[in-house]
């Protein structure tokens, strides 16, 4: 077990990608989130999973659903750079859907909410013991839906309906359209559109997930994977034995774990500072600090 101040506790870290071409076709990077949940669903480790799909009412607006079939899971491939309140379905999944073993995907703060909910289930009756697999996604910050409209349509001068992929990488915000045009925005522009709540977040690589994954640290088409908990190790070992993923040691890929550590350190250091600034925000008065 590795214990790291910024990367959390993990038993192993590898570069990985799915061996399923169907998953890779629509995934953001290595198809780890979809691949892991699809494997767990087929193996009966989970009965269904809370994932994020596109809301049909508006382009690139995410919406959480309870997926109970591989087809529904596949609909959730790819990153949506906007707010998807996945935890809002956590009780629904165990009640209306009657799931006894729930899988869930989420960003670090959602993993924090999930674990708080398991330890302090104030309003989550019968939920704590039914979380079978939590897949966490690296996250630097998120954007309200109006921010995405502003960035893509105003700054990027691109109709949101025509966008096929959004990505953040190599220091830029990338917009890919269906006709092949690619627009890139420097992150300097995107910063002011970030969700304010992200600026007090002290987690980059989903330290509380069973398995966490993200693109940073590995080449295009691959993902960095941290396997963290007993449940995570169990699922990952079974998935590896079944050949669901191909892997490389993280030490052998570029840019490697150093970049993950660098970005995690940057995010957490910056946000610790913003918490300090909040404490003396006014004159002799400050803003709330949620961490006790």
């Amino acid at each position: 077990m590795v214990q790291d101040n910024f990367l959390g506790n993990y038993t192993s870290c590898v570069a990985a990608r799915s061996t399923n071409r169907g998953i890779l076709a629509g995934s953001q990077d290595g198809g780890i989130a979809t691949g892991t949940l699809a494997f767990a669903l087929e193996e009966g480790i989970i009965d269904g999973a809370i994932v994020s799909v596109m809301d049909p009412s508006e382009p690139w607006k995410p919406m959480p659903i309870v997926a109970t079939s591989p087809e529904e899971l596949y609909m959730a491939r790819g990153t949506k750079y906007s707010l998807s309140p996945n935890l809002s379905l956590i009780k629904e999944a165990t009640r209306s859907y009657g799931l006894d073993r729930v899988g869930i995907v989420g960003v670090p703060c959602q993993m924090q909410g999930l674990r708080k909910g398991q330890l302090y289930p104030v309003g989550l009756r019968d939920v704590p013991d039914k979380i079978a697999l939590a897949v966490g996604i690296f996250c630097m910050e998120n954007f309200p839906y109006q921010s995405i409209i502003q960035l893509v349509e105003d700054h990027g001068n691109t109709k949101l309906e025509n966008v096929v992929k959004l990505d953040i990488g190599k220091g830029k915000f990338w917009i890919y359209t269906e006709r092949g045009a690619v627009v890139q925005l420097p992150l300097k522009i995107t910063h002011k559109y970030e969700q304010p709540g992200c600026h007090v977040c002290l987690d980059y690589v989903a330290n509380l997930a069973d398995i966490s994954t993200g693109s940073v640290g590995t080449p295009d088409g691959w993902s960095t994977v941290f396997v963290r908990s007993k449940k995570g190790n169990d699922v990952w070992a079974k998935a590896m034995a079944a050949g669901a993923f191909e892997t490389k040691p993280i030490e052998e890929v570029k840019p490697g774990l150093d970049l993950v550590t660098k970005l995690a350190t940057e995010k957490i250091t910056k946000n610790r500072k913003s918490l300090e600034e909040r404490a003396k925000f006014g004159v002799g008065k400050g803003l709330r600090n949620p961490y006790i």
């Binding site: 809002s88 703060c109 674990r115 998120n142 908990s229």
Partner: protein, 333 residues
């Protein structure tokens, strides 16, 4: 006759018997009572006034109980009771909804010394932990006396459920109802006495009650490590009882707390925990943020307290795996 024997009797649906030894694991009396089978030998109960040794698996009918008032477990339990103020008994049902877990709690950790519906005790006794359900009707002098007495006689007062924590639906009471039309004014117990721990929610969840019970036991009876862990676990629930997580404007008990204490403070990050925790579906997520139908809100405080940005302890959640394993182990029959 102790509560445990009463529950056994309910499960057996026959005359109450008192087992003189619970060490015989091979003969659990009923499925519901199987926790007794795994009880360690050193915890075997001692029967007061017992003169001669009785063979381990022999059952003694209670009719012969005149010289044996009570089976007194030797294990180092805490004493607890349920104090019923103006509430619907839903919180007590939530305790019972731990099913076999409740038997484990009673068997290993808690002597249930006071409970209007379950224990044959008329007056509030001295106890370690008082779980108070319901708000206090200040028009009813008996309620006021009892909540004062509860504070005086208990080491720890736990506000069990939203009525005790914040008033909940009793805040909407206006009097004029049979059979006590003059009962119209209800206050959270914290308005009259100091409260040590909040368990919010309407109803509070069985798992939350279980976790707090195990933590309270470890805090009072555990070793130093267990005390530290239990103290860290209970700290936020003690802080909300003191209204500590900063100004929220509304006593931690309605959807507006989310707006005032989380969104207005720039802390919401769109996880949806509030919507999931609302027992009346008053919260829907609109563009990732909670939209609260205040006509539906019953002021239970579940949303605010479930929110990871209302209060959050890294010390506790970073150890989530170990804590959940500890609780599972503690609850194993």
């Amino acid at each position: 006759m102790g509560l445990f024997e009463r529950i056994l009797a309910i499960f057996k649906k026959k005359d109450v018997t008192v087992e003189t030894s619970r060490t015989d694991a091979s003969k659990p009396t009923t499925p519901g009572a199987s926790p007794t089978g795994a009880m360690p030998a050193e915890r075997a109960p001692v029967v007061e006034g017992q003169k001669s040794a009785i063979p381990p698996d022999e059952k003694v009918p209670t009719t012969a109980q005149s010289d044996r008032k009570e089976v007194k477990p030797v294990s180092d339990k805490i004493t607890a009771g349920h104090v019923h103020m103006s509430g619907c008994t839903g919180c007590e049902v939530a305790i019972a909804d731990n099913y076999a877990g409740l038997l484990t709690l009673l068997d290993k950790y808690v002597d249930w010394v006071y409970d209007l519906t379950l224990a044959d005790v008329r007056h509030i006794p001295e106890m370690d932990v008082a779980l108070v359900e319901g708000s206090v009707c200040i028009n009813d002098h008996l309620s006021v006396e009892e909540i004062r007495e509860t504070r005086e006689k208990s080491k720890i007062v736990v506000a069990l459920g939203a009525c005790a924590c914040s008033g909940n639906i009793t805040r909407f009471a206006r009097g004029g109802q049979q059979n006590q039309p003059q009962h119209e004014s209800f206050v959270a117990i914290g308005d009259l006495i100091d409260v040590d721990v909040f368990i919010p929610g309407c109803a509070p969840t069985p798992q939350m009650i279980r976790n707090v019970c195990v933590a309270a036991y470890l805090l009072l009876k555990g070793n130093d490590d267990q005390k530290a862990l239990a103290g860290a676990y209970l700290k936020p629930l003690m802080a909300v009882a003191k209204c500590d997580p900063a100004p929220t404007g509304c006593n931690h008990a309605c959807g507006c707390d989310l707006i005032v204490g989380v969104i207005n403070q720039g802390l919401c990050m769109a996880c949806g925990a509030c919507a999931a925790s609302c027992p009346v579906r008053a919260i829907t997520m609109q563009y990732g943020k909670p939209n609260i139908d205040r006509e539906l809100c019953i002021k239970c405080g579940a949303c605010f307290n479930q929110c990871p940005r209302s209060w959050y302890s890294f010390d506790v959640t970073n150890m989530y795996e170990g804590i959940m394993e500890t609780i599972d182990a503690a609850m194993a029959p």
